[in-house]
Amino acid sequence: MNLVESLLEKFSTGSGFWHPILWILAFVFIFLLIYVLRMFGRKDYKKNTDQEQPFLSGNIEYSSDQTHVTASNLYWGFIHSMRSVYTVVTKIHTGDARDYVIWFTIILAVLFVILEVV
């Protein structure tokens, strides 16, 4: 019991428990478990035949050259659905050095007000 308590105290983060070595051991255990489960799989499949291909509802599988999605198309849906946010966020980044000074002035003004200088 004392050992368990001392381990819990050692692994405590204040709000929960964490230890990187345990995390790594857990990963090793999970990989071993997956490997053992995989050993129970069927070994009678025919290698280098269509049995190795993914099933795409009868459609022809395209080569990786044709299916690689470029960076600007990744997360297109997320960026499109967040376009109202991006309109505001992008507007701030004008690239004009004068705007940088304006923002600095605004921050100074806010600080002057909240610290009751003015």
Partner: protein, 527 residues
């Protein structure tokens, strides 16, 4: 005294003087040959690191040290340069030396065959000198001088790749922003000097009464150093500067940015430490919530903007902005969590110390994680001469080591266990949650979004078919791999053994920062 005692006594001065002297000798050594110059620069940074190691060990074991230039029998107030080195200074100086050392090793191959390398290495050493000076000095005017040196050296290095038109715009913006920040810092120092006839931080911290002029000084310091540290919405210069400088320099400029963050922390916890804890405790809470608000905006803006970038360097630069938000949120939590009783006495809950430790820890982790990603981006540019994400694909076929380093950087910066980023972010999540759960939720959500950002980069750049180029793509030279491997090794080591790093460096640094009385008595008691 034997030679070792002499070395130890003068080590604070030597740590700054060695790279300064090396900077001016570099053009002369360059005349012997490029190899001699490269070896000279790396050796001089290594020598500085050794001297610093002796100083750092002594400070961590025996407590803060002071070094007075010109006279050992000094009566304050007087205008004289004084270095005060505590565990907090040690942490930031070690960051600067680490970055400069790795940057110089990386540069051996990355900058090979480029023109003007004598100037490049001279400026690199000057930048290192300025960062070391900023974090070791105990004198405000001296801090300003080193801040100015860092601005000039950084500006010149940002504009080093003169064949790219964008670098001049980035350098111009940097010098405008830096000059404004430095002028406001000078103005603030002038106000303090006019009132208290002193420039020494410890002396001023002891005398400060929070008069009307002191309030103005606090505003000027916070605004100017927040601008230099890249807190939103004052971060706008940062993606240009980080994105356009050579990656070997970007990581050192990150050290200069963190030196400004050091300035913010020194102002809040040392210079105004007594003011916040005894004279006007309410100000601590106001400043704390103000910093939290800016930190949250920084996280949101930085990571949202990173997601839509098409230029790899700018994408990492925006991610670096987001990480600055994480650093400052812990600082804000420490200040904002203060409770004031009916007798106007201030007390801080235990989680506020964890928040500050998390922030300080995250500074070191952020430097390693973002630094590694910048170095991998540099490796990609070195091999392909491309930096637009849409032009890159399938590099894992040719750059296996760089791919592994990118994966390590990706997981570390996103706060995935068991890498170093997770340890500091966990401290920040837990402590922030106790102040306000919504803040912790924002931090976690945007860490996930940051993971998504770099998964996108990984998929687009490293996965997919082999790139169709007439040139045969190969892995980068060994010196670049060693530099990246060094960062990756540290990321894994700190991630797996965080207690060692926390107990030996981070907790003493946080303790030194919070113990402003010790900082003051080290100087005033040592006169």
């Amino acid at each position: 005294m034997n030679w070792f005692d002499n070395l130890l006594v003068h080590s604070p001065a030597l740590v700054v003087a060695t790279p300064l002297l090396a900077a001016f000798l570099t053009p002369l050594v360059s005349r012997i040959g490029d190899t001699a110059r490269n070896i000279f620069v790396v050796v001089m940074i290594a020598v500085t690191s050794v001297v610093f190691g002796i100083l750092g060990f002594d400070v961590l074991v025996h407590g803060p040290r002071i070094y007075i230039f010109g006279d050992s029998n000094l009566v304050l107030p007087v205008v004289r340069i004084l270095f005060e080195v505590d565990a907090f200074s040690i942490l930031f100086a070690s960051i600067a030396l680490l970055l400069a050392f790795v940057g110089s090793i990386y540069s051996l191959s990355f900058m090979k065959n480029q023109d003007g390398l004598d100037k490049y290495y001279t400026l690199l050493l000057l930048l290192l000198t300025s960062i070391l000076g900023m974090v070791l000095t105990g004198d405000l005017f001296n801090f300003f001088v080193f801040l100015e040196i860092s601005c000039i050296a950084s500006c010149a290095l940002i504009a080093f790749w003169v064949h790219r038109a964008e670098v001049f715009e980035a350098a111009f913006k940097y010098i405008v922003v830096s000059s404004i920040a430095a002028l406001f810092v000078l103005f603030a120092i002038g106000l303090l000097y006019a009132q208290y006839n002193a420039l020494n931080i410890a002396t001023l911290a002891n005398l400060l009464q929070y008069t009307y002029l002191d309030k103005i000084t606090l505003v000027l310091f916070l605004g100017a150093l927040a601008l230099k540290a890249g807190l939103a919405p004052l971060h706008l210069w940062l993606p240009d500067s980080y994105g356009e400088a050579p990656p070997s320099i970007t990581i050192v400029i990150m050290g200069a940015t963190m030196a400004s963050a050091y300035g913010v922390l020194r102002i809040c916890f040392t210079l105004y430490g007594s003011v916040f804890t005894t004279i006007t405790p309410q100000t601590s809470i106001i400043v704390g919530w103000f910093i939290i608000a800016l930190a949250v905006i920084t996280i949101i803006l930085g990571i949202f903007m990173a997601l839509r970038q098409r230029d790899l360097m700018r994408l990492i630069a925006f991610a670096a902005v987001g990480e600055i938000g994480y650093i400052f949120i812990g600082v804000g939590v420490r200040l904002a969590s203060a409770t004031i009783d009916t007798a106007n006495n201030i007390s801080y809950p235990a989680y506020s110390v964890v928040a500050l430790q998390g922030s300080i820890f995250h500074i070191f982790n952020d430097i390693l994680d973002i630094g590694l990603l910048f170095l991998v981006a540099g490796a990609i540019y070195y091999v392909t001469k491309k930096r637009t994400l849409d032009d890159l694909q399938g590099l894992a076929h040719h750059m296996k080591f760089s791919t592994v380093f990118f994966i390590i950087g990706l997981f570390a910066v996103s706060g995935m266990p068991p890498f170093n980023g997770f340890d500091s972010k966990l401290m920040l999540y837990e402590s922030t949650f106790q102040l306000n759960p919504i803040l912790a939720i924002i931090e976690i959500l945007f860490s996930i979004l940051l993971l998504a950002v770099f998964v996108k980069v990984f998929y687009a750049v490293f996965m997919g078919p082999k790139p169709q180029t007439p040139k045969v793509l190969r892995e980068v030279p060994k010196s670049m791999l060693v530099a990246m491997g060094f960062f990756a090794g540290l990321i894994i080591f700190i991630g797996v053994f965080p207690e060692f790093f926390l107990e030996t460096i981070i907790q003493p640094a946080a303790h030194a920062l919070l113990n402003h009385t010790q900082y003051i008595t080290t100087v005033l008691g040592g006169m």
